[in-house]
Symmetry: C2
Subunit: 304 residues, 2 copies
């Protein structure tokens, strides 16, 4: 991916480091057993190791770092969030869902293995996420563990990611035309909830009291929307080779997106305005919030 | 179902009461939203309300009751375990997995709705389980919540239910012939882990120290195996109308089960011996363990 300028360096380094750490973390959590469960764990490893931008783990780590959390704990939590993200991608790619053959430039799990293994690998990663968070290695404070789990459970369920995916599917299948308000709501659930949870979980690890997290939530809300507008833009003007997945799907499906509803120029303008607004929410922080600022900019400038 | 004798009354009443409470609990947790997520939540309600024996919630409640836990907390935990059980049934019934059309005498979720909705409904129930456990309404003690989550996460993931399901699938598809030791291991993961977690979570709610839970674990291990042997027997000699699902599948698939490996008579004998042994593990308890004893007997005597 292309990231330029001082911000770019900071971010490129941050992403690279987190990518290596999250890979190592999955490698450690997923030893291949010496029985017929091997295929399941191999599929889980295939889906989790060496792919993905790791934006969510970097959000966890960057927020946690602002509040002096140990790197190790932050990476564990980032790995849990990424496990949820990857499980959702595996299930979304299934033939009965979006029927995708390519993800992060690799064949999707059900293509390499089979559909049943893909369903189970997603399920097992889903359980793994909560297993990681409930472990005392993540935090010795059970209250922190319990808060982390509540936040992730909420973001991934019917009032979060799964709910947003359902709204999306109904639009595809029943030809429901959402207006801008409905598309915004859908995306807040489908993408925004987990991005928001990433920041929130960094703050929970940092024991930031709930009443002083408002600016972080505002930041998350804005980057969540900007992220999805950027995704919709990429679907229209992006390069498939760089994206590592099929594009132009929205157009083929005649789907309402931020881009169809606002047009390319207006959508790009809106994404940039949201990023400026997100960064403004961090005004009370000094240079310790620079990675979050750089991440916000990256979200609209990325090419995959 | 047929349950006879004094035990039978105790158990029939216990099951009936828990069934009503778990139904009410799901009804409360799953309000249908006024947007296009409605189909998802309706599918979740269809799968969870009014069906199933509720053996797992009764295990939680009966164990918790022995240690003076509030009924409300025990039912919440029982509902969480049942959410995991139901999610696994929805996914197991999918065309790419066991391809079943009937469950608890009703059409399976993917038949009534569609495959994508079934995948998502399972996923959302999976998340709901952890959401319930992480909530302070379940226990005000975050350590208890965290222990409950760790126990359930472990039982449902690759080293529990999902792992067992994978072993089972490999046998079906690759024609691997398991011996008695491998079938035992498979079933301990696929069925035993969640039954064991139910008892364990009742004990966790009751703040039973981990070092004095050995007899409960021994009880769970024995009833878990007995439960699966009974299931294999039902597949051979059961009545489809009573079972509410397709039977004789093991034979058609040429699958190794406790019954094919031991024969009907030996299998029945073994199941009864395991139940006696399970009950013997409860010798240190008085009448407060009567429901657990009755449940153990029910497990081999049930006709569905």
């Amino acid at each position: 991916m292309t990231v330029v300028g001082m911000d770019g360096d900071l971010l490129a380094d941050g992403l690279k480091r987190v990518q290596a750490e999250v890979d190592a973390s999955f490698d450690d959590l997923l030893p291949v057993p010496d029985d017929t469960r091997a295929r399941l764990v191999e599929a889980m490893r295939y889906a989790t190791i060496g792919g993905g931008k790791r934006v969510r783990p970097l959000l966890v780590v960057s927020t946690a770092e602002m509040y002096g959390v140990s790197r190790e704990a932050a990476i564990r939590v980032g790995t849990a969030v990424e496990a949820i993200h990857v499980y959702s991608l595996i299930h979304d790619d299934l033939p009965c869902m979006d029927d995708d053959e390519l993800r992060h430039g690799k064949a999707t799990v059900h293509k390499v293995y089979d559909e049943a293994t893909a369903v189970l690998a997603g399920d097992a990663l889903h359980a793994l996420a909560f297993d990681i968070l409930a472990d005392a290695d993540t935090s010795t404070d059970p209250f922190v563990r319990s808060e982390l789990i509540a936040t992730l459970g909420h973001a991934s369920g019917m009032n979060g990611m799964a709910g947003g995916q359902m709204m999306d599917m109904v639009a595809d299948e029943e030809g429901v035309d959402y207006d801008l308000r409905a598309v915004t709501r859908l995306q807040q659930l489908k993408t925004g909830a987990l991005l928001g949870a990433s920041v929130e979980m960094g703050a929970i690890l940092g024991r930031v009291p709930i009443e002083t997290r408002a600016h972080l939530r505002a930041y998350s809300r804005d980057i969540g929307l900007a992220f999805q507008i950027a995704d919709d833009l990429l679907d229209v003007i992006g390069d498939e080779a760089k994206a590592g997945k099929a594009l132009r799907k929205d157009e083929v499906q005649g789907k309402q997106t931020f881009v169809t509803l606002m047009g390319v120029d207006k959508a790009r303008e809106q994404a940039r305005a949201l990023v400026d607004q997100a960064i403004a929410h961090l005004a009370s922080h000094g240079s310790e919030a620079d990675t979050l600022r750089a991440l916000a900019r990256f979200i609209v400038e990325r090419d995959r």
